[in-house]
Symmetry: C2
Subunit: 409 residues, 2 copies
Amino acid sequence: MTQNPPAAATTGPGPVAAPERLARAALSRLMEPQDAAGLALVQAVGAVDALRIGTGELKAGPGLEQEMTVFLQEAGVGTWPGLAASLKRWIPRVPDLAPERDLATMQRLGGRLTIPGDPLWPEQLSDLGLHEPLCLWWRGHEIAFPHARRTVALVGSRDSTGYGGAIAGEFAYGLGQRGYTVVSGGAYGIDAHAHRGALAGGSSELPTIAVMAGGVDRYYPSGNEELLRAVANQGAVIAEVPPGSAPTRYRFLQRNRLIAALSAVTVVVEARWRSGALNTAHHAESIGRIVAAVPGSIHSANSAGCHRLLREGGAVCVTDVGEIAELAGGSGEELIGERQALPAEHDGLTLEDLVLLDALPLRSTTSVEKLCAVAGLAPDAVRAGLGRLGLLGLAVSERGGWKRTRKEG
Amino acid sequence: MTQNPPAAATTGPGPVAAPERLARAALSRLMEPQDAAGLALVQAVGAVDALRIGTGELKAGPGLEQEMTVFLQEAGVGTWPGLAASLKRWIPRVPDLAPERDLATMQRLGGRLTIPGDPLWPEQLSDLGLHEPLCLWWRGHEIAFPHARRTVALVGSRDSTGYGGAIAGEFAYGLGQRGYTVVSGGAYGIDAHAHRGALAGGSSELPTIAVMAGGVDRYYPSGNEELLRAVANQGAVIAEVPPGSAPTRYRFLQRNRLIAALSAVTVVVEARWRSGALNTAHHAESIGRIVAAVPGSIHSANSAGCHRLLREGGAVCVTDVGEIAELAGGSGEELIGERQALPAEHDGLTLEDLVLLDALPLRSTTSVEKLCAVAGLAPDAVRAGLGRLGLLGLAVSERGGWKRTRKEG
């Protein structure tokens, strides 16, 4: 069993060693996303030897299966069919392997492959543990991925309503203005509104990122081609599957874990009772990310999924960009502060002074004696209270009597 | 210091002893609601002697102040000005005392006074501890108050929107149909819609109850006079303050604790960022009742208070009557069940079968070999999987090839 080169060799500012890069490119075609056994194999022997074992070039060592079992158990995978059975799934795809061609394709598209250790690599993906992707096929700006704290996912229904679309756009614009990177899935509906809003409002180097379920060589869905081209031009379009891969339903579900893991907060803007966005939310929750949901009309089926998330306790209710920024750990507090700073005139009064204020007439004046009876307070308490209310501008004395101060306008 | 008659003498089916009833009637005029010292005095010596001490007829015993301090500390009241200072607040109202007149007024209105131990008395108010009201002035049906589990409070803004009003009406009607009693505050807006819906849908003996901040001799606000008359005819209009009491702001806030304590669940249908309904919600939370909030548009100021409750974690998001009934401990589960019982076609598939399903074409058929490459599965896994998908009606074999089953229209 060959050992992986030490981790230090794969980090630092320079590119990771070419064989590691090629091996991960190849493995990303052999394996479906979240192939736990495959990922455990890479963990055990490194990508280069995992590929050689997968293609039959190298024979597995005697202790390997045991070692993989440990990795799998740590990741919560209780039983697995064993190495030979797991590798059988790869065999039909071995003839298609051509990692150099895939890398050349990416270069032609102005893109690249990024793998753990690269400066571009999003560190926050390591929170996925064993399920961290092998690599990301990356189309767009060559700028390091922002920290999760500066990244917010906005997700939701493809068939969004005007309400949901407007909110996705507003929120993305506002997050962009505050320098956040908006992550979404490039789909119709909420995703598209989120990307558009972020492109319009974006003030960071990477205003928005679309995470694809299929290969980044094709902009999918085709109706979003122009939008995704703009995302690639100003931000990035990424995928863990290689060019030419179809966006299958399985890959959509796996892709959702990347959206969740890239971001500190996943905001579900609009979602039906059953929805892919809820799948993203559950991924987020499972790795300790914050899930937020936008409320809406209880008569709108497109908000039922959001309300389900709120009701079942996992999600935080968010209604503006400040609240989202606050959840992400940024500076949203000032907005909240503003709203809370509109006190009612009677705020901070003692109960006795409130009783007294209630007892004061608005038009004619009244006597201290009468106030004692109406408010149920002793004369000295009434006099002291009137003094306090007077100082606060709430009561006024006129011709020996007292009344409430009339509010202007 | 005279002792209160033992509790047993004040319970049972018959009316509580007349002096106790008269004393509580009188004390409810001397004391503002939640006069902690006054309530501690009643706790210590009973209502009859508390009244005699309050009016100066009886001198307080030497240990009384100490005993009251214990009651107050148990109720969370740390410091108090002492007995003499507390009683000073009552003195201006002593000349107005006429409990027999108040009871006669109630009788003339077809109402009555109910006190702890009476069959009518809502047992759940004892959860207020020291702050349990002394008595309730009760106008309407002479029917025992339902258990908190059969009672739901619907509260919200006076200036409700069409959205909030419709929901209050729907929810109250649905709760009424299920035999719940709907409690609210008799105000304009959400309260009025809730009472109306409950009157229309009510199937219990006491479909709805309005808890007033002022005396029940007057229907307030006047615009709701007809509605409140109907509530009194079919349900009940109640207050802890005696006839003739004005509905002051202080009393509105105290009244809210009664709405909360009467009900298992307090549902805030619509509320602004600052709202009396939030005060009711906080009362409910403080005595361990469930608070629920109805979500709405984030662009509606009238839902901002609901979202605040959801966001700050105290409230459960509710969107239909079934969810409310479930919270109250009743039978709302069937509705939830119905909604969750709409599975997607791929529910319950293993990941491998899902991958295979994704790989199956919809129109033309494909071969097992081709499926191996597309799905990344070994031939025997593909064959076994096709068998399972076939049994589930998801795949079909035609002329030696396989394709996905086309869904009907």
